[in-house]
Amino acid sequence: MALTRRLRVDPIACDGHGLCAQLLPERVTLDDWGYPIVDPTPIGRDLADHARRAVSACPVLALKLQAAAATRR
């Protein structure tokens, strides 16, 4: 059983830098004010590297990759 992971953004830490949207447009788009709208579809193996890069690129560590079971409502 593969571990499914989802992207989640901490809305308090997020400052709208927007690097995540540049590095992972498949899952992140920006709203009218430059803040990320994150698609919660699980990250497959094809996007895993890109997702990790997007997470590490966030200047304020607001983007997180979480195991799907741990994702709270």
């Binding site: 920006l30 709203d31 009218d32 430059g34």
Partner: protein, 200 residues
């Protein structure tokens, strides 16, 4: 341990060259870091390019710095120990100027290690240490001016001048140019993503 005169000279050239290279790379790293914190971007130079380049150049700084330290210590011409590279002001040769180099190295190591462990440390702790980069660069510059063998040479002075100008210009731009209140440009048409700037 003694080396032949020829290999001593070779090591000495390597020390000076790698020292200069380290300063140049460090300057570029600092300028890119300032550019990133100012959130500057253009259609042909997105934010992640600045961020990646900043990160990769800082690792390159480490490489050239390691070369600079190693060639200095291995070259037995002047008595400098491995310890003097990290513990400042303890060397018998030019303790002050060399010591500043050790200080710069220590600061750089602190910044680099915390950056590599950023996810574990959390943003606040990482950021607090990262500010030390603003101390690391001038200390490195002064170390070079004080004990650099080429310090008096025209080309080295030119490099120093350009480096200093670059960092000063970047800092001045950062303090003055970025807007001081959050600005949100509301999209005039649906589907068009607005630019938005922040001051910090």
């Amino acid at each position: 341990m003694s080396a032949t005169l020829a290999s001593t000279r070779a090591l000495w050239y390597l020390t000076r060259g790698s020292g200069a290279a380290t300063l140049v790379l460090l300057t570029a790293t600092v300028v890119l870091g300032i550019t990133n914190s100012a959130r500057w971007a253009s259609p042909h130079w997105p934010r992640f390019v600045t961020e990646r380049l900043h990160r990769n150049l800082s690792l390159l700084v480490l490489v050239f710095l390691a070369l600079h330290v190693a060639t200095t210590v291995v070259d037995g011409y002047v008595p400098i120990r491995w310890l003097d590279a990290v513990v400042p002001f303890g060397s018998s040769y030019r303790p002050l100027w060399l010591g500043l180099g050790a200080v710069a190295l220590d600061l750089l190591l602190a910044v680099l290690v915390t950056s590599l462990l950023r996810a574990r440390l959390g943003h606040r702790a990482w950021r607090a240490v990262h500010w030390l980069a603003y101390a690391c660069w001038p200390v490195a510059l002064v170390h070079g001016l004080g004990t650099g063998s080429d310090a008096g040479r025209a080309w080295m002075l030119a490099v120093d001048a350009v480096a200093a100008a670059a960092v000063l210009a970047a800092v001045w731009w950062r303090l003055g140019a970025a807007p001081s209140v959050p600005v949100a440009a509301v999209a005039p048409h649906p589907g068009e993503v607005a630019r938005h700037g922040h001051g910090r």
